[in-house]
C-alpha cells in the first residue's frame, strides 16, 4: 500500500507536447507551482503523545487573506521496513520500503478562520516506534488543491490532476504510545 506516483509516462508525454507547442514557459510555470512553498496554515495538535485509541484534537487556523483552496487535514500513519523483491531478471534482493498504515483525510470548509477535527489512532494499529531496522510513525498532515491560474491550458490541468493535484501543507508529527 505504499504511495507511488501513478503517471510514470507523464514526463515523456509532456515533453512531446512541449516540443510540438513550444510549451517551455508552461513547463516553467508548472515547475514553479510544484516547488512553491507550502501554504500558510496554523496547525495545532493535542495531545502530541496520544495513546492508541485516544482522541486527538486538531485545530486549524486559516489565514484571512487567501485561505488555501480545498483544504484537507488528515491523520496519517506509515511504516518503514525491509521488503524482499525480485527484479525483471529474476535477481532477488531486499529494499527499505515505506508503506501506508492508515490515512484518514477530512475536508475542511474553504472559509478563513478556525476549524476543529477529532481523530483517533485505531487501537489495533501499531504505536510509534523507531528501531534498528524498522519504524512506525504518525503525523497530522494538511494538504490543499492547486489553484490554477487563468490561461493554464487543459494539458497542465490534466497533468496536475493526475500527478500532483494536492500540494502538501504543514505537518505535525505525533508520538503514539501503546
Amino acid at each position: 500500500m505504499s504511495e507511488r506516483s501513478e503517471v510514470a509516462g507523464a514526463p515523456l508525454a509532456l515533453e512531446a507536447q512541449r516540443r510540438r507547442r513550444g510549451g517551455g514557459r508552461l513547463l516553467g510555470r508548472l515547475r514553479r507551482k510544484m516547488e512553491a512553498p507550502r501554504f500558510e496554515l496554523h496547525l495545532d495538535v493535542e495531545p502530541h503523545e496520544p495513546r492508541l485509541g485516544e482522541p486527538i484534537r486538531v485545530s486549524l487556523v486559516k489565514p484571512a487573506v487567501g485561505p488555501p483552496l480545498g483544504l484537507q487535514v488528515g491523520l496519517v500513519g506509515q511504516e518503514t521496513y525491509w521488503a524482499r523483491y525480485e527484479d525483471a531478471d529474476g535477481n532477488e534482493g531486499e529494499a527499505l520500503t515505506t508503506g501506508e498504515l492508515h490515512a484518514d483525510w477530512r475536508e475542511v470548509p474553504d472559509e478563513a478562520g478556525e476549524a476543529l477535527e477529532l481523530f483517533t489512532v485505531p487501537d489495533y494499529l501499531p504505536y510509534s516506534y523507531t528501531g534498528e531496522k524498522v519504524a512506525f510513525w504518525w503525523q497530522v498532515s494538511s494538504r490543499s488543491r492547486w489553484k490554477l491560474d487563468e490561461g493554464v491550458d487543459t494539458l497542465a490541468a490534466g497533468v496536475l490532476q493526475q500527478e500532483a493535484n494536492l500540494r502538501p501543507g504543514p505537518v505535525v508529527h505525533i508520538w503514539v504510545r501503546p
Binding site: 511504516e79 525491509w82 521488503a83 531486499e94 498504515l101 501499531p126 528501531g131 534498528e132 531496522k133 501503546p178
Partner: protein, 117 residues
C-alpha cells in the same frame, strides 16, 4: 542440541522471565548464553533491546540443565505489527561454537499491555 522451556509465556514489564535450557546432545562449545530481546522482523531481522546472560563456558554435556531468570525492562513495549513487519519479545539461547554455526532455540513471550490511568 538445545531445548528451551519457559515457566510462563505471558509477562508484565519489569517482571522476571524464567525458564530452563536443557542440553540434548554433547558437543564443542565456547559459551552457552541466553537473551531476552525485542525483535524487529521484516525481510531483515533487527534487535531493539536486549538483556543478556551467560549460562556456562566450555563444551556442552548432554543432560545438563540450566535455570535462568532475566528481567523484562520496565519500559518494555508490547508486541505489535502489520503484514510487513512484526515487533515482539522472545527468549533465545545459543551455543557459541568456534568456526561453526551456533545452534540455538527460541521461544516468544507476550508482554502484558499496561495502561496508565
Amino acid at each position: 542440541m538445545l531445548e528451551l522451556t519457559l515457566d510462563r509465556a505471558v509477562v508484565a514489564p519489569g517482571k522476571e522471565v524464567t525458564g530452563t535450557v536443557a542440553i540434548t546432545s554433547s558437543g564443542p562449545c565456547r559459551a552457552l548464553s541466553v537473551a531476552l530481546r525485542f525483535v524487529e522482523r521484516s525481510a531483515r531481522l533487527g534487535v531493539g533491546a536486549e538483556v543478556l546472560a551467560e549460562l556456562d563456558r566450555g563444551d556442552l554435556v548432554a543432560g545438563q540443565r540450566y535455570r535462568f531468570a532475566l528481567t523484562l525492562p520496565p519500559e518494555a513495549l508490547p508486541e505489535t505489527g502489520t503484514g510487513n513487519l512484526q515487533l515482539f519479545w522472545e527468549v533465545r539461547t545459543w551455543a557459541d561454537r568456534r568456526l561453526a554455526g551456533d545452534p540455538d532455540a527460541r521461544a516468544p513471550i507476550q508482554v502484558i499491555r499496561l495502561r496508565a490511568r
